[in-house]
Symmetry: none
Subunit: 204 residues, 4 copies
DNA sequence: GATGAATGAGGATTCATTCAT
DNA sequence: TATGAATGAATCCTCATTCAT
């Protein structure tokens, strides 16, 4: 947690620090990210940095938290309708929210993706339970879908949850493939959902 | 590419260097991996290292190439039957080969996974065309499957290729989840393929 | 010397600052003692510190002075009887007073001892004339003892004064040896004085 | 312990490093002693320093060991005659050896004295058993003196050992008092021994 | 080809002190 | 008078790489 001194800062300076950190962590993995560069970009003294944060990790974790909060803003709208939507509607909305978040906040998305996919112990420490929680959430969705009748009860919910998460995480890469957007969000989602719903076996 | 001096080395010394490098890169991300540690583990002089390799990246890329070659050994058996197997048989064999590779070579698998998932620019440089090639391969498989009639022609082959790759990459994590194996390979593959083939919509 | 602002402070706040400083200087040598820690312990603003004191050294010297004053309280009773006691009675009382001071004020004693024994230039600056004065005092005592007839006139008073001071300074270490008290004060003093009076040559 | 690389150094360079370190540690307490200054004085690269030593403490401990070895050179001559000398002859020789060491190696003496007197935990760690061992040695000398008949059996040997050590440690300060030498070694020793042998009570 | 000492830019972090409010 | 954010030189230390032997 950043120290009080950080939160007492003027909004503009705090914003500069956050922006500099986001820039840095989007460009370099944690160990290569340089406090010195962040300091320079933010235009603060090195001593100040350590009056705001315990250390580099403290700042990194704060940025991760910001990312989580920001992502939640995108997801909240969907989550509130957890009970009124059926499974496939819900999944569509979730993927869509993820895409929108990635489009609006490409750097945050990059940092977040790097974190969740990385197998480094440091990253595992930081990410903590978030990945298991995400899987659990998908599994619950599937369970409910089975109960309501929309989802095939023959599937292994845990396994499918992992598959859906893997696909979810690959979406932002899909979007920026080759640095250009190939299709619009809706089209992308529709095509993905078609496959998820129906599989890829030829229908008779 | 390592220099000629490296390939002129006695097999045992070359082996020590490779083993040390694999150990190191499996334990640390590129930037944290230490040339000094590799040198010590391999029992060579630091000067020698730079007579074998341009720099750390040169060694890393060589290891990546070794991993690719090794993986090919596992895949070749499948690829040779590209024409005789139908799409789903092929996919099953590919996933299975991937699992076997991961089980037999956990360190290589770790290095490879870390590489392909990482969004770091450095890693992108190193991985080069491999990911696009993998996607392209899946896409071709799908095309052929459509032509042969087993695969639904309504799908977007490129998109599905990406999805299949994302799932493929998540497999080794599935296997080692919680440090324990939850189901046997066949069961895992079967359940995954069931979903891929049929989707998760309830059948009437 | 602390600034006027410090002496204008409420007694409670001044006391907090002094206590925090004593704590700190008893725990760390001057260079390692941290103004920041003192500030925190005392609950004052860092800016305030420099409105009370010139710098860290200023505070340190003030604490040293406090220690001197405190020690004088213990010695005054003895010094007042300078004329009525003979040399050995006087020495006994002085050592005893020193022991009592150390027992009652272990932190002050620790700071003082560290100061007087240290050969660091900084410490020499701070301690100034105090050590020469102490030696001078012992020397005068010896002179008077010789005149009165109790003390052997063959000794080199200056040298013996130094020896007596060296012994005096080692007393507090003796007391706390191994963190435990080995003998009571009187016994300790008696045994020391016996040696000082009679030396260690076997008597015929 | 310094690394092999240090001992493989040319004598001249090793000498420069040692001289620079002695200079530095004689001028500053451990925490204030600067690796950077040592590096500059010795004319080596900062990286080299850490190829020779684990860290600053490693170098410091090595210097302490050098001091011990050097002091032993001065004491060995005396110690070899442990059995042939009586207590007071022995004590005289020991003090004399100490004085000679201090005169010949003032910087080493300063470092050593600072170490043994300092109450800092770091210094205690480094000095380890050396002080107890010194006291023990004095105590044994006293015991033997009592058995042989030269030393007063009424004394508390442990206490006197501590007193003798305290005096021993104060000798080098005596010598350099006011930066000038007041008397020659023999005279100093004789006067000290006179007091130690006979005490300071007037003889009838 | 082998060696391993030498290099030095760069790393994160500390801390006494200043100064604007 | 009180505050506490700002400062930046200085701290120890790391590490990939070079180069003379």
């Amino acid at each position: 947690m950043p120290k009080d001194t950080f939160f007492n800062l003027s909004e503009s300076k705090r914003g500069r620090v956050v922006a500099a950190a986001i820039d840095e962590f989007a460009s370099y993995p944690f160990h290569k990210a340089s406090v010195t560069r962040i300091i320079k970009k933010a235009g603060i003294a090195s001593g100040s940095f350590y009056q705001y944060f315990e250390d580099k990790k403290d700042l990194y974790m704060y940025i991760i938290k910001l990312i989580g909060d920001k992502k939640m803003e995108y997801l909240n709208y969907v989550l509130q309708r957890f009970d009124s939507l059926d499974f496939f509607q819900m999944l569509r909305e979730l993927y869509l929210a993820g895409i929108r978040f990635a489009r609006d906040n490409p750097k945050l998305d990059a940092i977040g993706n790097n974190l969740i996919k990385n197998s480094d112990q440091l990253y595992k420490d930081i990410i903590g339970d978030q990945k298991p929680m995400a899987i659990h959430f998908f599994e619950e969705m599937l369970q409910k879908g089975i109960e309501k009748g929309g989802v095939d009860p023959a599937i292994d919910t845990r396994l499918v949850a992992e598959m859906l998460l893997a696909i979810n995480l690959s979406i932002s890469e899909l979007i920026y493939e080759d640095g250009q957007v190939n299709m619009n969000d809706m089209e992308l989602i529709d095509k993905m959902l078609y496959v998820i719903e129906n599989g890829i076996r030829k229908k008779r």
